[in-house]
Symmetry: D2
């Protein structure tokens, strides 16, 4: 939908019959929501048509009025899509703007549309319709980004790199395995958005201002037409509830936290200290003063936008805190958070789908880093344990081996079997000969980065084989996802 | 579980083999998590037993070792329940404390327990077990509080009070209807906690430090014994993921926001300006200087604790932002937020269950307030609409009627039919006679508070009849809830 | 400054010499800051002129170049003020837009402007200049709002109302005293903004990208021309520091919290339950369905915007957390928070200045509420204490008196001296005669609402006399404030 | 002060005279603040003595009573310091606990202490006294940490390392310069805490419950005895204000953000990818499964605690939002945030002082990284500019030179003068000979890392000479700081 053109000239507000004073120009700017809620227009119209159809079916308005209302609203919807609709700030919000225009176009029938409803249930309905659609779009983009991870993981299931804990080299992992961690995070994100969409999919319309209405309405019919799973059960809750915004923002914040973690890694990996990946030029910027720079602006911005999303969540929660029932104007401010969050999610997911697809790993830098960091120390410990040394004792042996390797400035494999056996004999108080026989003849394989990774082939493990299994599973899952 | 007694004397940490320097006393205090993570002890033990059983079944440790380990751990669990277990801060966390004690009790077999796992997957497992149980307890308490609302609503389904929007008297509602709004909020809360519990119920154990393990483990067997629905699919994600804490805190924050709204209303209602309800004395405190005061301390504290919960959520999200994979020590701080949030939820829910059950409404104050506030103006408008006046025109008529009533200082009904008909005729430009016939003969019923409420009998409406239907539905739902 | 018109057509970015790929259209939207940072334009130009003058003075650029640069920049500034400047999104930010235009206008001399600086120190300088001016504007508006409070307080220094703690009627206060509480809050707000403005008033220019520059610059001269108190002392800190934004947002959040408290009170006071004040019609809205409603939308929105401000603060702090030095692109996102916060503060302060000035208290409702709430119970206790009854004993006596009055449904004064003396004798275990003599003959004055308020005449007390003293002091303070 | 031992047995609360029901056991736990506010005990006693002295001086209580009260309170203070004071949860808070004990010790005189005050102004006074002292302690620790930075900077003023922007190598800096950036951040932190301490240093005592008192008190005398700069000017503001907590938490959050940035750098620098510094062993932990690991737990925890602090701030602000005046129980929850924040700040500052002092830089790794990253590209550009090439043209030349060096896999200096001159001639469209002459004969010095750093010697620049000047200035500043 095109950005709104808003007429700032004051006209009469819809509720102004009772008041002696017109609203101050400055106050209009403070009060009006049309600069952001115009985004609800098409959903508002859709809900109005369903409402009017039901009013006519229940004989609350004349049947011919419905035909006129529907035609009028469809015409307005077309104007909005075309960008020719003229919004007025004096009419405060999207609902009044549309209703006023409708009455201008079709006369008295338009005035009957607002029968048996209120702005309070109307805005709640439009917001739920909007958010339901927004979430569907976000989930589709999550799938696209997941697919980018899966394809990269498939291609790099064998690529060895150091795995980090505490940003210290810990154990070898495969690049494919590392990338698939983000597939899993996004899978949970998708689930949270899905739960949110399911929970919000109850129709609040018919709650009117806060108490329901005295007209013989048929809420189930409206719910059915609008694709809701049912109707809300309490009118006061329905007009004051913004849980769906809070739950959406919480899911959004967690998703952005995941992408901020990826961003942090991309920034690290593309630094010269790591040199693990190159980001495509088109995702980077240069420096005005340092021509050699290739800055990872996109991940940095996404990292910051995780903070922004946290702010949107915090702000909206603080808005809802301690409000008495039922509707209060405070709720209006939650809309901006919802719109801003959707925008951030959509653009970030789209940008990252391209970015992830374009990542170019540097295999030699990755392997060198894995080799240099004593990353297979655990494997040595596990070998000892398999040869019946208690884990904690094995740990002590390996700790001394690492200290020796550090002192000599060589990798573990570089120490040689004899040194390792000697340290082991000393630590455990056993004969050197016994130590040698415990170590056996596959020490070099165990101490190798590839051997380490390949040995972790159970579900969830980092072995290329395990990664390929998860890639296959993920593809099935994505292929089964709706709308892809 | 009794509060932990912690030995602050320094002993050797489990990982200390490699280091040349002992950890500074001050640092121990900064680093140790045992002052809070002792709460995980019984879950840690349960997971350790399942892990050891699997190790034996897979022949990774000798079968007899398992028997000794299990017996040792059960003994430790008993000591912990009895409050006789001596925790040591120098052993940093609950996991080392238990493992060290196990080794003291059973010797070498104890050292084998840590085979094929790491503290990273161990703590993730214990936290999930803990949180799963915590959520079950919270959900049960949500049900108790819901039942308190349902019983009060049942008793007061007919009790009339003003419904507010913008804290202005809007339309009459029933007290039962108002209370049932909170039933609905809690229903969504319960759903969110349920979704969180379902999503977290995947076993991370077997992820080891971050890459999985080279031992031939059987993760599904452990998952089955511990009641998990399955195993996590990526070891790096499994040790770095704290989504379950964030999702729990988000659900907790929304629940506390709901209770903060109730608190705000209880504070308002028990003020002398409103006088709608009396809180039982035992939920109030007096003033040290103003003996006439009966302060709603409990709702005020709960209102503040909604802020505290928001802080816990914000803090935990900020902790997780931009962490590179896999495990970092930052994650440790999320535990305190989890424990604090559980404590706040449990106590608040329990206290509010008693508070809601003990609410004593003041029917006459409620009715008087509903009568005084022109709360049936909408009903007059609706009457006109039913008599074919377009909604917006009817609105204008009623606006003038209200202004007249305000000027005369009387309720709408007090104006008399003749005055209303005259204003109507002037506004619409019709004959007085026509206005009289439009108004018809049920004007007094329409303008009455009770008539207004009773006319809103559709699903979600405020009519006593509708409230009773929802109460019946809610009771069925609660009776069907597990564990109640 | 008029809103920016931005050309979305792609052109070449300033740093593009090195790159093989142009930036993707979608990425431009993600990356470009010009949609918000155009607000810095005039400050950027001012700083550029000062920088260029210094470059010429130090013979880093030819003197004639400076003249041309200055003229060019002044022309651009005029175009910006006129709204004729064409911004380009492809040029990313305000700095490149202006520099590119300058070079188009004046040729090679324009290319010399960027000598000895970087966008990193340039944006830090522009933001500080902008924020310094923004804070000055905010402080002036704080003064205006304070004056509105002072004038209302002056007019209503004698007006009695109940003072609340825990929203329970506690003791009588004067409306003037209550209003002056907000004067004090705003006084602290003003101090915080002042401290922030002082602390940020150090010139970062000359820090270049992060390390300073090899040109013989004169930072003190630039600082002097731009009105800074000095120069920053560390170039790495200078380009990465956004403390001034965080400190500004924290001060803004506290200010909005104050106004949210006022908003809460205005909402309560204008409810029919309280009826203490009427808000002017032009600050309220009506209801689309309930014609009798006069909704306090402005205070409700302000209350919500306090939540929004908290979100801006939280978000910006989360953005800055754990960034390594020196400049990262994350910092860009803090700008939007700064601009949004300024906008919220300016409009809210302006709107509230009118709102506070237009408040119309309802003296009879206030007095009736103060009379009804046993608000002088403390005064009775104090009387007893002055007659040598220990405070805690007096407290017990008064508690029983209140209980008796509640049982009889009358105010304290309505009980009569004899009843009070009897209760006192029973509680303290003294003769009735002694009790009578302790009470003395000024009991009615002590129990009166006016007598209670008038007796609290010390500094900070609620007595009309004390309020008038504070009003006089406040006027002096405001008259001495700069720029008013 | 030793941790509090609290008696959980129910006794009668101080305000219980009026109530028919005793408080529920569970509610006591929810309501009582003694588990945390016992920390205020000594400040509460100090304020009580000052208050009692004034009461006697004003003849509000008998002079002998003061002597008894003072002696009684000093005895209680001694018991508290000795850890023998028995706290009772049934007495709710620190104030009632002390007053009740006082009355037990000295009889009726104890009951007179509470004359002319309330818990509301009492707790506000105790909190300000406490926070004033806490801030003094924090500022002293800030100075200690600053000194650690200064000493390290002094020692390493010449040590070259790469400076980063966007975590890309940008320009050479000195390690001393980098460390002094933190000195500057802490300097601003110190200023913010100082401003907070100054602003809070007004005595609220005498505000009583909310309206002041009818006794002829002398607030200035109490303020003087307690070291306050003056008295607060409005009693309602005084009892409801918690700005000082919010301002303290905001300052604390910014400080922790600074330390989180340092933490991030320490984690990066001590990773094997960077290898710039070694953290002393005693600040690290090992891994239970990976014996080679040396984990930077302390920086990781501090990074997380920055999130925790943000949560404390957010929570406290949300608590204060939209509270009506005057005192509400919500305020009680802000205390826990204050105490927790102080604890985090004190321990983190102490731990970091040791950590910073013990940092061991690895000069060769730092230099190698600076050499490898084209960090002197800007210097080449600046050289061209000094030889009259417009900045933007010079930028283009250098961009091509960098691209060439990248293609050849060599540092800039490795390209040789001839290649650089050729690229320059092509880019600018000039003769090769002219290009050579422009480059001149100091190209190698300009392209060297040391030459680059040394050339930035202005105030704020990274040159060793500039660092030494700032170190000297910082030492003067620290030596002049109070209490060091």
């Amino acid at each position: 939908m095109a950005a709104a053109h808003i007429d700032m000239q004051a006209r009469t507000a819809a509720w102004s019959g009772r008041f002696n004073e017109a609203m101050d120009e400055r106050l209009l700017g403070y009060n009006a929501s049309i600069p952001f809620d115009y985004r609800l227009a098409l959903h508002d119209i859709r809900a109005s048509i369903a409402h009017a159809r039901m009013l006519a079916a229940q004989a609350i308005i004349p049947q011919p009025d419905f035909a006129v209302i529907e035609q009028g609203l469809l015409g307005i919807a077309q104007d909005i899509r075309d960008g020719t609709f003229q919004w007025s700030r004096a009419l405060e919000d999207v609902h009044f703007n549309i209703e006023r225009r409708l009455t201008e176009r079709i006369g008295d029938a338009g005035k009957r549309l607002h029968t048996a409803r209120s702005r309070n249930d109307q805005v709640a309905t439009s917001m739920r319709l909007y958010l339901r659609e927004a979430i569907a779009g976000i989930r589709q983009r999550i799938r696209h980004l997941q697919r980018a991870f899966v394809e990269q993981a498939s291609q790099h299931a064998d690529l060895l790199m150091p795995g980090f804990t505490h940003l210290q080299v810990a154990q070898p992992v495969t690049f494919g395995h590392h990338l698939m961690a983000y597939f899993e995070m996004l899978e949970r994100d998708d689930g949270r958005f899905g739960d949110c969409a399911t929970r919000l999919n109850q129709l609040p319309l018919g709650s009117a201002a806060l108490a329901g209405t005295s007209f013989p309405i048929d809420r189930e019919a409206v719910a059915h037409e609008l694709g809701f799973d049912g109707v809300t059960r309490n009118s006061m809750d329905s007009v004051s509830d913004r849980d769906f915004v809070l739950e959406f923002l919480a899911a959004a914040a967690v998703l952005m936290i995941h992408l901020s973690r990826l961003s942090e890694e991309l920034i690290l990996w593309s630094s010269s200290a790591f040199g693990f990946v190159a980001l495509p030029d088109r995702f980077c910027t240069g420096s005005s003063i340092m021509p050699q720079k290739k800055n990872p602006d996109i991940p940095e911005l996404a990292r910051a936008k995780a903070g922004r999303m946290l702010g949107l969540l915090t702000g909206a929660m603080a808005m809802m805190k301690a409000q008495p029932l039922a509707y209060n104007k405070d709720n209006q401010e939650t809309q901006e958070a919802m719109f801003d969050a959707e925008q951030v999610l959509v653009t970030t997911l789209e940008v990252f789908t391209g970015l992830v697809a374009g990542l170019q790993p540097n295999a030699s830098r990755m392997l060198a880093a894995a080799d240099a960091g004593y990353a297979t120390a655990t494997d040595l410990a596990d070998l000892l344990v398999r040869r019946s040394i208690p884990f904690r004792d094995a740990h002590e042996v390996v700790a001394r081996v690492v200290r020796q390797a550090e002192a000599q400035g060589c990798p573990l494999a570089g120490l040689g079997e004899e040194v390792i056996a000697t340290l082991m004999a000393q630590t455990l108080g056993i004969e050197l000969q016994r130590a040698r026989s415990i170590l056996g003849d596959d020490l070099q394989r165990v101490l190798s980065v590839r051997g380490s990774a390949e040995s972790r082939s159970h579900t969830g493990g980092t072995a290329p084989e395990a990664v390929r299994r998860e890639v296959a599973r993920a593809r099935q899952l994505l292929n089964a996802a709706p709308g892809l």
